[in-house]
Symmetry: C3
Subunit: 131 residues, 3 copies
Amino acid sequence: MKFYTEYLWFNTEKKREYINITSTLNSILKKSGIKEGMMLVSAMHITAGVWVNDAEDGLLQDIDEWLEKLAPYRDDYRHHWTGETNGDAHLKSLLVHHQVIIPITNGKLDFGPWQQVYYAEFDGKRKKGLS
Amino acid sequence: MKFYTEYLWFNTEKKREYINITSTLNSILKKSGIKEGMMLVSAMHITAGVWVNDAEDGLLQDIDEWLEKLAPYRDDYRHHWTGETNGDAHLKSLLVHHQVIIPITNGKLDFGPWQQVYYAEFDGKRKKGLS
Amino acid sequence: MKFYTEYLWFNTEKKREYINITSTLNSILKKSGIKEGMMLVSAMHITAGVWVNDAEDGLLQDIDEWLEKLAPYRDDYRHHWTGETNGDAHLKSLLVHHQVIIPITNGKLDFGPWQQVYYAEFDGKRKKGLS
């Protein structure tokens, strides 16, 4: 059994940003030499998410708007008593989940026809990690 | 370490359909001969979900209604500019997540008392895969 | 390849309760002797969740309030025709997901700076299991 871990760092320019990391993950898989197994893609921050979905700009805007509707920015989250202003980012992270697992088959990430992996930053402009 | 992959295909009759795949997964586990480990059940489509919950018809209707409330069909999703009409199905998929992992202990799927695995189709009447 | 399974039991005092199980998981990892791999933390009940997020009391109250807004208690869930009263707990469980995977690196749970694991009970005052 072989394990390979790599950490990625993101420093987004916008507060909320959705980054397609599929080709990065393909490179990591190649480097690892793993042929069968699973790749865990897991955000290391509690205000970020990871999902598998379509790479389509309109859809990304729909998702962003939808997340803001279901888990809106609000001044009066209790969490803000700590001095933070990112209560909504925690809720958005819970909503989309912070990790996915990609099956590896014959040395390839075993995706369906349109599956792409996104790192979703909900509280950006800080340095953030992913393993 | 042993790996075993199987692909399932669904061709649903309705737009939204929830299929209990627990017994299918039990058969696959038997075929694989794996005694300890994990089974990843992951939708290969970006308009489908996989969840673990109760097998109760009323609850399935409640879930369907709830998903339609939180991620409703709308004409004006930006994603529809591509000619698609399934924006809501993408959002529903993000909401329930597209995969689960089932622990395997002593050659059995290690479920709690009421846990059943569902494949949730949110944009059906097309052929869809699951690995 | 080494596998180690442990079951935890919770008997909460309140209907909804959020229990930080991070230190318990650290003890289990130590006992297991596993140095590289993944730890699956998966609720065995269909009215419970498991998530990774911040250990901050205000935030936990925000999350609780938010979940009650998105998946409220209602008298008229169809699931209640079975005699149950926990329809909302099933929906809350779907919303936050019932499991997480924690990467294990160098014999440690490989968390980001603020990541803590919570067991979320949505239908408490019964004995519940986690594997």
